[in-house]
Symmetry: C2
Subunit: 342 residues, 2 copies
DNA sequence: ATGAAAGCGCTAACAC
DNA sequence: GTGTTAGCGCTTTCAT
């Protein structure tokens, strides 16, 4: 006949019976309540391992009104943003940060408007304990909506300088400053930049870092003609670099606000007959293998992506532990990885 | 006054009350049971949307003994294997394949032996309905253990030619044949190969494809001296290519069993003064951006990775629907992407 | 410190 | 077809 319900798994009740205690006591033990006598605890733990007992998550969630699950949400408006190992690193980091918890990691892609709605319902129904949100675009309302719902949320990156929601970001402006500083320190003065899409704070920050570094050596803000907009794609990097080259045939350095764009810049510069790094130096941002293979000597700013993921997980866990804790804002340092060509 | 534990979420009971029906009927409606009069169904659906009702997953799981969740498991013995977009594509594909289900996607990395044990416990406790397992290494016992437990499992790739567990793989041997065939068709006869780690079936298959293609033109199996082992890393590709070059200075083509290794091969060949493709042609496998940026003209075999993920999800869903269905084995075709340099 | 008991929200058997 | 009811396995008062 059809085997139903029972999975054959031992239940808390059976553990209690074997240990000769009540169910409440077993529950206390597996939840690390301090109000249990050591000897009793030992008894129960013995029974647990003897039976190979594993608490039933669903029952726990139902009774305790929590889920022990967090969602990692990835809005897919800009898939290109995730072509690189960035995505993979974030996921690894988050998983690592959750590793010694028994939190489950749910992965959710939000491609369409209807999927966004569905997710909000889902979140509103509290089917996760918290949310990690990456690749937040300029004016994405999702973080605010989650905040209204009262669901602990941590962003990877931020939407603006005074992001109200908890976030973990990299020091993009600082990274850009050090990249450009690296160029000027070696005597390059005609430094142009290829920016990311300026509706993203990450792109604004990197541009700002560039401007600050230029001002630091020239005493004034760079002329806008030294700035060309890309979109974080290689093709965008090529196009923007071509513009820059047309406007300033004498440029001797380019700071690309992403490594993929740096790869594009390198291609365009080479195609135009410029030698790297004799004629033009290039510095990128992100330290991706793609760019390194385009030119192994490419100097780049490295963001600690995996650690960002780990930190996001940690921040969320903290927020889950102390519901009324202030929103945490973490900015991790970047690092300039020098190779020959910068 | 007595309001306790309530999360504020409407329950099935409230829906039933509002619709003026019993709870069982509401349950039937949300589970698409055919045994409901259309008019009643409409009534219930009206109440559901009026209340914004979302079924409680935990309660459902507890009562129905299923979880509506599948785990995507990634054994991390060989992290290098996932440096490329492969991982990202698989995940996207799986998510896509699950998109119009309300299955949740759990992500699980297995780094240590203790994590493996924990996962087996977890799986044994039936906290997921099924498992997707990628990057299965040569003699990994995990798939068999899951099969014993009776948990529907689908592999991405396989462990051997007669893999008993359901799997979705790419036609690696066929891809390798077409790659090498492409080289020989253009007159190259001195074709060497850089293999992957031969304890992986994927590497064996690609080597077999190479051997078959060589035999097809030369009439006999290639001498082992034309074969050098890599490990799917760039450095491995460099080393193996250097060996080949030392053994056969006259080689005029290389088939690399992965694109990252192809990148390594290109670097080594260039460093040795060989011109690509005048002196030596290179063909890779996987069609990764890394390799394309090393040489934009690199011809590669493309595996439909995202579709593999999608298919894995589909196969698993089928297995969940028909528990006694035969193990499905799917092999997806690969495609040669010709560019100038092959 | 521990046992007893009341749910958590749902599914599935069973009646009608 | 539809209502009723008994659990699913756990957490959490409330007594003791």
């Amino acid at each position: 006949m059809v085997v139903k319900g029972r999975t054959g798994q031992p239940t808390l009740e059976e553990v209690a019976a074997l240990a000769g205690v009540g169910r409440g006591t077993v529950s206390r033990v597996i939840n690390n309540s301090p109000r249990v006598k050591d000897s009793t605890r030992a008894l129960v733990e013995q029974a647990i391992s003897q039976l190979g007992y594993v608490p039933n998550r669903a029952a726990r969630a139902l009774a305790g009104s929590r889920t022990d699950a967090v969602a990692l949400v990835i809005p897919e408006n800009e898939k290109k943003f995730f072509a690189e190992p960035y995505f993979s690193d974030i996921v690894h980091g988050v998983a690592d940060g959750l590793a010694d918890t028994d939190m489950q990691l749910l992965l959710t892609f939000l491609r369409t408007e209807s999927e966004r709605r569905r997710f909000l319902q889902y979140a509103g129904a509290r089917r996760v304990d918290g949310v990690l949100l990456v690749s937040v675009h300029g004016s994405d309302p999702l973080p605010d909506l989650l905040a209204e719902i009262g669901l602990p949320t941590v962003l990877g990156g931020r939407r603006s300088g005074d992001e109200p929601v908890a976030y973990v970001d990299a020091d993009n402006a600082g990274g850009a400053r050090s990249a450009v500083g690296h160029l000027t320190a070696s005597g390059r003065r005609a430094v142009a930049t290829v920016t990311g899409p300026l509706d993203m704070y990450v792109a604004q920050s990197r541009l700002r870092g560039y401007e600050e570094a230029v001002r630091a050596v020239s005493g004034s803000a760079p002329d806008p003609s030294w700035i060309a907009n890309g979109d974080f794609t290689e093709e965008g990097g090529r196009r923007a670099t071509a513009e820059l080259l047309a406007r300033h045939p004498d440029l001797d350095a380019v700071f690309a606000a992403s490594d993929v764009m740096a790869a594009g810049a390198l291609h365009t510069l080479r195609a135009a007959g410029r030698r790297i790094p004799e004629d033009v130096a290039v510095v990128g941002f992100d330290d991706s293998p793609i760019a390194r293979h385009t030119d192994p000597r490419l100097t780049s700013v490295r963001q600690p992506v995996e650690e960002m993921g780990r930190t996001m997980a940690r921040v969320l866990l903290t927020a889950l532990g102390e519901p009324e804790s202030a929103r945490q804002h973490v900015v991790l340092p970047t690092e300039l990885v020098r190779r020959a060509s910068g």
